[in-house]
């Protein structure tokens, strides 16, 4: 709770914050009363009156506050302050250079453009707010004693609202009643976290057993809960009933704003958080603001521009002082006294002139640069967004640019840090093999079938390219085994829209069972059936068979999968026939508990005071001696239902919605063995077994999966044995530690030990195959043990402080001394095109590090499969076993190569290429302050780095380390919540909008549907964005310098008096209007190399990595060119008009024209692709200038002092000299640049130019050359990564393993 007051992330609306602060002083929790108890929702005595109401206002401004607030925000940008300062300087008569009003024009223009943009955005927000605020919902009204329609904005904390199916929640609501007989409510949270599976929410326990409809009038409890915070997965509090009893509240009781009610006809709840205090709103942060590398570099040069400006002003000021000084006391007639008639000393006038010159030369600091960059970036984002090749048909999603201003950083990446699961792989799990009780079932048929699918896929691809497709696909699937056929038509929830690619989905659901295992399952269940029939205890079952059946029970029920039927998506399977039996069953159970009966009877009559939460009743039930169960009674009623027709129809079409894909894969796998999950209720799981029919497992407890425990458990009462059984499923490393040490004495113990050993062997094998391994274990508890544990657990659950820790400890107590059942190997297929993408990214000079939480063997194999590691490479493995050696490794490596480790910029040539594999524990050492430099030195010498078993924190530490120490541009890509920290730390964070929710996407700058799109995003769009923007910025600097220098040269001929021959209108609007459009078009559309070539020659990416388009010296080269061009543009007209009767502004107008032509032609030389838009923009610029000039010069004979350009342009257009100047000056000015570019193109073409030449060649030749060049990798085009010199890769302990023997095992992963 203390955390929440400090948390800055939540500071959404300042109003909310203030209010909250005020309240924090009062208390640390929020107390919610029902509004119905008080007359008026806003009444004085209503304790809820301080809480924010449900009206949302995401707008920044109001009509009144817009101007001051917007201006205030804009003046946070230093450049704007500078320009306003200059504009205001014009109002000082002594120093003014322009008409003050006119001088304000540019800055007003810039400010208003930004203001209009802000206003528009704000207006859109306002409209959407209004729309949301005026949505309807049902709120209970005290006056009318029923639910009435109200607007969302009228909902207040403490109101009761009734929600119907498919309605969107208006606020965070505590669920008090549901029409669902199980007191459940299903919600879809896609708008919050993007997860499409349904989530169950439960009615608060005290209201659980309410038989009739919930009556708000009778509600008189008080809810105490935590303050509003932005953690979607946490809600703590308790409800205090009138009786003084407290009941804990969990996140399962809370329905969040923005979610949609599904599968539930009606639900009633009380509003806990409203409006801006809802979790959804608190989570709603705007887009991120980052400054790109290019912009940082640009700012340095803006600073240089300021220096140049000051030097020029100083020069002019000194010049003016000297000029004044030479006349001494004799004031010439043209040296006008200051307005008050006093004589200025040369020094004073020099000082005044300095300020004047700042105004005159202000154009040097490009006022429109910042606006132009923003416009160009928006266009770039638009184009990236529109790219068809970055669009994924399967998910109907395209790339999202969430950060609008770092597009060009994409072209400068040097390091990529990638997650593995879900990023490189599909995160669509396919059950591949399993081991039960130490026996491996290889599922060969399954593997063969998968291989066949792959072939089919490739065939199909060919087919698709030729046209016909779909019918064939059906025919292929139809000759599968009966099992797979039947399951073919089920839909997996993750691929709702993926009808286009059925084959990849099929693999998940449709598993060919291993015949051996299937036999065992059948045998086992028939035996059990037999035993049940003869009322024999189940313990007589042979232990291997028992393990098999337990294994499948665990697969089926140890999860959180929700069952729904696909023909009515989002409709819960209504087990209509079972329902009555179930309640019957419950009744039986409850009937056995006398205390419960009394409880229930006291509840009759719908008193709102409720009790008997299920946990407590469970406890009481446990205390009671259960009457001997009549097995017939328990199962009898179920069987007819199993035989019932309706049931059979539905069975094949069940659809499982799982939180994680492995869960679904396991459930589907179990179903292939006819152990299918048919229903899940909060307190009961129903599964169907062959011969046995449906079994109802009473679900006593679920300990959900979390990444620290890396396991999940369910506690059930086994219907056959009536034992309390814990099924645990989790990562092998964790489970193996929790296995009960086998008692070596007994035969059973020996068997156990053998199972553990064998399973461990198989696990290693699976991992080597690149499969994800999970261990399944169980534990049987006595009732006393369970009761004891439950007691502790309940305490932990109700604790408000430190609940997480307590729960964790409680879980630990339960999940010990497990008995290993078996393990599964699940394959996570590589995404399409991953090896190719990695190969070409690497050719592009990118260092790719994979940071994964998976185990080493799996990670290494995936790394081989995706060509991250190469069989040719030496693998340097740093793992736990070698932890002791690490220190020595780090010591030895750098010291053995003194020449290169510290200064590895010029490494000697390396024969051996290295790959580094490091695991989490070792990484912890390596990231230590003292070792990180050495770690980096080793890592840099490796071609690829693989960090396995790393925690999210370690991931971000690695990224931070590389970013800060090596000063490189880093990109982090990931898809899950565990990648968020890494994504946030990196310069560019990319999220894969995939299977694991949206957290990664929310934190990212760019969100991609698939990993392979990274290639085009970086190699093509990154390159383009970078080169376009870099060239545009350089051009901007050039353009302004060149224009301003014209005036500077003139100062030599006007006594450094600050006079400008260029009319002030032209001076001010030159940048803003006349020359603004072509550069925007070029900055947006120019393509130096075509997309195809960029992708075929990834080496061209190095261009951006080395910042070759915009190096510091280029700024100066451009400046020098600008000064040269301005010299030409000044002196050609100067000599042409020397000693003539031309007047000041008639002479100045050609300068504007010449400068315009020159910079346009300059742009033309730098433009690589000329589309009609380029032509149009240039023509438009010229036309605009002449139109404006002609209109302006004809408009007013007496205005626009001092230039008063009446009829100037018109006269110039009649002057042949003007045209002659317009021809020769641009030619003379651009001759050197044109010549240089031509020579460069021939003598020392940059790789990019070579790429452009390739573009020009006919496609055929081009392909030939490319195939040739691919052979010669590592040529001048490709970068030479700084290798460490390793004199001899001598084996040092276990550090270096030659992993060349791996290819054989790799073949299976593709």
């Amino acid at each position: 709770m203390a955390r929440e007051t400090e948390d800055p992330g939540m500071a959404k609306a300042s109003k909310v914050k203030r209010q909250r602060k005020k309240k924090t002083k009062e208390n640390k929790t929020r107390t919610v009363h029902a509004n119905l108890l008080y007359d008026n929702a806003k009444g004085e005595e209503n304790p809820n009156r301080h809480y924010a109401n449900n009206k949302i206002k995401t707008t920044k401004y109001t009509v009144l506050s817009f101007l001051p607030k917007n201006l205030f925000e804009q003046f946070h940008r230093f450049a704007n302050v500078y320009f306003v300062f200059i504009a205001l300087l014009n109002f000082v008569p002594v120093v003014n250079a322009f008409q003050p009003e006119l001088a304000l024009a540019p800055v007003v223009f810039i400010l208003s453009v930004t203001a209009i943009k802000d206003l528009w955005e704000d207006y859109r927000r306002h409209r959407s707010d209004k729309e949301i605020n005026h949505m309807d919902c049902l709120v209970y009204s005290r006056a009318e004693r029923s639910y009435v329609e109200k607007y969302w904005k009228e909902v207040r904390v403490g109101d009761f609202i009734r929600l119907r199916c498919n309605e969107i929640l208006p606020a965070d609501v505590l669920l008090l009643s549901s029409s669902d007989p199980d007191r459940l409510c299903h919600i879809e949270t896609a708008t919050l976290d993007g997860e499409t599976n349904l989530k169950q929410r439960q009615v608060v326990r005290s209201f659980f057993d309410l038989d009739c409809d919930f009556d708000p009038i009778k509600y008189n409890s008080i809810i105490e809960c935590e303050k509003p915070n932005n953690d979607l997965n946490r809600f703590r509090g308790y409800i205090i009933h009138r009786s003084g009893r407290r009941d804990a509240l969990y996140k399962e009781n809370l329905l969040l704003r923005g979610c949609t009610i599904r599968n539930t006809e009606e639900a009633v709840g009380i509003v806990i958080y409203a409006g801006h205090e809802t979790k959804a709103m608190l989570n709603n942060n705007g887009p991120r603001y980052k400054r790109s590398k290019l912009e940082r570099q640009m700012n340095v040069d803006v600073f240089w521009c300021v220096i140049i400006l000051l030097v020029m002003c100083l020069f002019a000021a000194v010049g003016h002082g000297l000029w004044m000084f030479q006349y001494g006391d004799k004031r010439p007639v043209f040296d006008v006294l200051s307005p008050d008639g006093t004589d200025l000393s040369p020094i004073m006038s020099a000082i005044y002139l300095f300020l004047t010159m700042i105004i005159v030369f202000q154009v040097l600091i490009p006022i429109s640069l910042f606006v132009s960059i923003e416009i160009v970036k928006i266009c770039q984002v638009y184009f990236i967004h529109q790219d068809m090749e970055l669009y994924d048909e399967e998910t109907d999603s395209h790339l999202q640019c969430r950060a609008l201003n770092i597009t060009e950083d994409l072209g400068q990446m040097q390091y990529i840090f990638s997650d593995k699961t879900g990023t490189l792989t599909e995160n669509k799990m396919v059950f591949r093999r399993c081991t039960v009780a130490g026996v491996e079932y290889s599922h060969d048929a399954n593997a063969r079938r998968l291989a066949m699918y792959q072939e089919m896929d490739s065939e199909e691809e060919e087919c698709t390219s030729h046209g016909g497709t779909l019918p064939r696909r059906d025919s292929v699937t139809s000759h599968q085994t009966p099992w797979s056929v039947r399951l073919t038509f089920t839909h997996f929830s993750y691929s709702v829209l993926s009808a286009d690619k059925p084959s990849s989905d099929l693999q998940e659901k449709d598993i060919t069972p291993d015949p051996q295992l299937l036999d065992k399952v059948n045998e086992c269940s028939s035996q059990m059936d037999f035993m049940r029939f003869h009322s024999q205890p189940m313990s007589q079952l042979p232990s291997d068979l028992a393990d098999v059946i337990d294994f499948f029970i665990a697969l089926t029920i140890c999860n959180t999968v929700v069952v729904s039927s696909p023909n009515q998506p989002r409709q819960k399977v209504q087990l209509t026939s079972t329902k009555s039996i179930q309640s019957n069953h419950l009744q039986v159970n409850k009937g056995s508990s006398s205390s419960l009966i009394t409880n229930r009877s006291s509840n009759k009559g719908c008193s709102s005071m409720l009790s008997s939460p299920s946990a407590e009743s469970t406890l009481t039930k446990l205390d009671e001696e259960q009457p001997p169960r009549d097995l017939e009674h328990n199962f009898g009623p179920v069987l007819p239902c199993y035989d019932g027709k309706a049931w059979n129809l539905e069975e094949g079409e069940l659809r499982y919605e799982a939180e994680s894909p492995d869960e679904a894969a396991l459930v589907y796998a179990a179903r292939a063995y006819k152990c299918s999950l048919v229903g899940r209720l909060p307190d009961q799981v129903t599964m169907e077994l062959p011969h046995l029919g449906k079994l109802n497992f009473e679900l006593l407890h679920t300990l959900g999966f979390d990444s620290t425990r890396k396991r999940m458990s369910v506690v059930v009462r086994h219907p056959l044995t009536d034992q309390i059984t814990v099924y645990t499923k989790g990562a092998d490393s964790v489970i193996m530690d929790l296995i009960k040490p086998p008692d070596t004495g007994s035969s059973k113990g020996k068997r156990q030990k053998k199972i553990v050993n064998r399973t461990q062997n198989y696990l290693n094998l699976y991992a080597a195959d690149g499969l994800r391994t999970l261990c399944i274990a169980k534990k049987i508890m006595s009732k006393e043990q369970y009761a004891c544990w439950l007691q502790h657990h309940l305490e932990a659950e109700t604790a408000i402080q430190g609940r997480e820790e307590l729960l964790f400890e409680s879980a630990l107590r339960l999940e010990t001394n497990l008995q290993l059942l078996g393990a599964t190997g699940i394959e996570d297929r590589l995404q399409d095109g991953v090896p190719e993408t990695i190969a070409s990214l690497r050719k592009a000079g990118l260092q790719i590090w994979v940071l994964t939480g998976d185990k080493q063997e799996t990670a290494v194999n995936i790394a081989y499969a995706c060509k991250l590691l190469d069989p040719e490479e030496e693998i340097l493995t740093l793992n736990e076993a070698c932890a002791l050696f690490n220190f020595t490794t780090f010591e030895i490596y750098p010291s053995s190569s003194p020449s290169s480790s510290s200064s590895s910029h010029t490494p000697p040539f390396m024969v051996h290429r290295l790959g580094l594999v490091i695991d989490g524990r070792t990484l912890a050492y390596a990231l230590d302050k003292s070792l990180e430099d050495k770690f980096l030195a080793v890592a840099r010498s490796c071609r690829s780095v693989l960090c396995c078993r790393s925690t999210p924190l370690q991931k971000s530490m690695v990224v931070k380390l590389v970013r800060n120490k090596l000063k490189v541009m880093t990109l982090a890509i990931g898809d899950g919540a565990n990648d968020v920290s890494m994504i946030q730390v990196a310069d560019v964070g990319v999220g894969i909008s995939g299977q694991e929710g949206m957290q990664a996407v929310m934190a990212s700058d760019f969100a991609l549907p698939r990993f392979r799109y990274l290639q085009k995003l970086l190699l093509v769009h990154g390159h383009w964005c970078y080169s376009r923007l870099a060239n545009m910025i350089l051009y901007f600097f050039y353009k302004n310098a060149m224009f301003v220098a014209l005036i500077f040269w003139y100062q030599f001929y006007c006594g450094f008096s600050g006079s400008a021959m260029i009319d002030q209108w032209y001076l001010i609007f030159f940048n803003l209007m006349f020359s603004a459009f072509p550069q925007l078009i070029t900055g947006t559309l120019d393509k130096d190399v075509s997309a195809e070539t960029l992708q075929q020659l990834p080496q061209l990416y190095v261009n951006g990595q080395n910042s070759e388009e915009y190096k510091p010296y280029m700024f100066w080269m451009n400046m020098i060119d600008a000064f040269y061009q301005s010299l030409v543009c000044f002196f050609i007209p100067y000599f042409a008009y020397a000693d003539s009767d031309v007047d000041l502004f008639t002479w100045g107008t050609p300068f504007t024209t010449l400068a315009l032509f020159t910079i346009l032609v300059h742009l033309g030389i730098e433009t690589k692709t000329w589309t009609w838009m380029n032509w149009l923009s240039i023509a438009f610029s010229i036309a605009l200038f002449f139109t404006v000039a002609l209109c302006y010069n004809a408009s007013c004979p007496t205005c626009y002092s001092p230039s008063n350009p009446y009829w100037t342009m018109q006269r110039l257009l009649q002057d042949p000299l003007f045209y002659l100047l317009c021809v020769i000056t641009p030619v003379a000015a651009l001759l050197p640049r044109y010549f240089y570019r031509a020579c460069q193109g021939t003598l020392f073409p940059s790789p990019v130019q070579v790429g452009r030449q390739l573009d020009k060649l006919p496609a055929e030749t081009c392909r030939n050359i490319l195939s040739l060049s691919r052979v010669k990798v590592g040529s001048p085009l490709s970068p030479k990564p700084p290798f460490l010199s390793l004199a001899k890769p001598s084996p040092k302990g276990c550090n270096i393993k030659d992993q060349r023997s791996f290819p054989s095992s790799r073949a299976s992963i593709v």
Partner: protein, 367 residues
């Protein structure tokens, strides 16, 4: 290139169609496959190499050199004569005038200079006065005027713009025309005499109309309606002026007041510190005789305008003009020079092209 585009487009259409078929009514977010959105607008992609660029250099050279020669020749055909009458040297007839003169002296000082034209001036001759080292482009000087007043605006007449300070009022009365430019009006009078074979001085008629821009004379500058009631104009003359504005040319009401052409020409401030301004036009009388035959001439100067204090110079220039204006060989030379450089660079590029630029032909990409 084009072929690959087409193939892709087909592909895109195809898959788009199939996805529509499968997804049914669900509207796809698929981006449009238009050339613009996919950044595939047809484009001209010039590659700058020696080979591709060298024709441009030769073409520029070949065009510029003839133009340059033409310009140079036509500039050389212009006849120009220039005489400095500042009177810096003792030998100069105007030396004494220059020495003794200041803005405040009231008596005019007259001096005359003899000169000889070697060649006859055939067409219309323009007579300029030229000033050097006179910074008419000084920032504060340029601003120091009131265009509304010069346009005959009565309120500006009575209340001149602040820009005119400190030449806005004198003795409590507004100055008309106000400002430093008007105040420093060039007021030398130049007269030209031809000395014929009989040693008689023939006055050469100098036309003083048509020396200003037509728009200036008729649009920008206007007299207030009651300029003829000049005495009642409650304004003061500029400080340095000897006579008020309505006496600039009493002989011709169309050339008097603010629309006096000498005044208008002066008010058009020169761009550079060395400048000339059109003073008079000597019109060609007949087709047979030259406007100014070669021979001796006398320039009689009423020396009113002091320039020595700021080291200025005064000149009288006689010049004919051509289609491209006055005599200025620079542009011709510039064209010839730039043309030659282009040609030279073209040759250099040709050599480079032959020696190095073989790649694009033989497709041997350096890899």
């Amino acid at each position: 290139m084009a072929t690959s585009y087409n193939a892709k487009e087909e592909d895109g259409h195809h898959s788009g169609a199939s996805s529509h078929g499968a997804a049914g009514v669900v509207k796809s977010k698929k981006p449009d496959n238009t050339a613009f959105k996919q950044q595939r607008l047809p484009a001209w992609q010039p590659i700058l190499t020696a080979g591709t660029v060298l024709p441009a250099f030769f073409v520029i050279g070949l065009i510029f050199i003839p133009i340059g020669i033409g310009l140079y020749v036509s500039s050389n055909n212009i006849k120009e004569f220039e005489i400095d009458y500042t009177g810096v040297d003792i030998s100069n007839p105007c030396y004494s005038c220059a020495k003794n003169f200041s803005w405040n002296s009231t008596t005019p000082c007259v001096c005359s200079m003899n000169f000889t034209l070697e060649q006859p001036f055939e067409s219309n001759v323009f007579m300029y006065y030229g000033l050097s080292n006179f910074y008419q482009n000084h920032r504060r000087y340029v601003k120091s005027r009131d265009d509304s007043q010069l346009n005959g605006d009565q309120s500006a007449l009575k209340n001149p713009s602040k820009e005119c300070e400190p030449y806005r009022t004198s003795d409590g009365l507004p100055i008309a025309p106000c400002g430093a430019i008007a105040n420093s009006l060039f007021n030398d009078t130049l007269e030209l005499y031809h000395i014929d074979s009989n040693n008689t001085r023939n006055t050469i008629p100098l036309v003083k109309k048509g020396i200003a821009w037509w728009t200036d004379k008729h649009v920008k500058f206007r007299n207030p309606g009651f300029i003829k009631l000049n005495k009642h104009l409650c304004t003061n003359k500029p400080v340095n002026w000897r006579k008020p504005v309505y006496e600039l040319d009493p002989s011709d009401p169309d050339n008097n007041g603010f629309i006096n052409e000498d005044f208008i020409v002066w008010m058009r401030t020169a761009a550079l510190p060395t400048f000339r301004k059109l003073y008079r036009i000597i019109q060609k009388k007949s087709n047979t005789t030259p406007t100014l035959p070669s021979g001796k001439y006398v320039l009689e100067i009423t020396y009113n305008y002091p320039v020595l204090s700021f080291d200025g110079r005064k000149r009288m220039i006689l010049s004919t003009i051509s289609w491209m204006g006055g005599k200025n060989p620079f542009l011709g030379i510039a064209y010839i020079t730039v043309g030659s450089i282009c040609f030279f660079l073209g040759v250099v590029l040709l050599i480079i092209h032959h020696k190095y630029d073989t790649r694009s032909n033989s497709a041997d990409i350096p890899n």
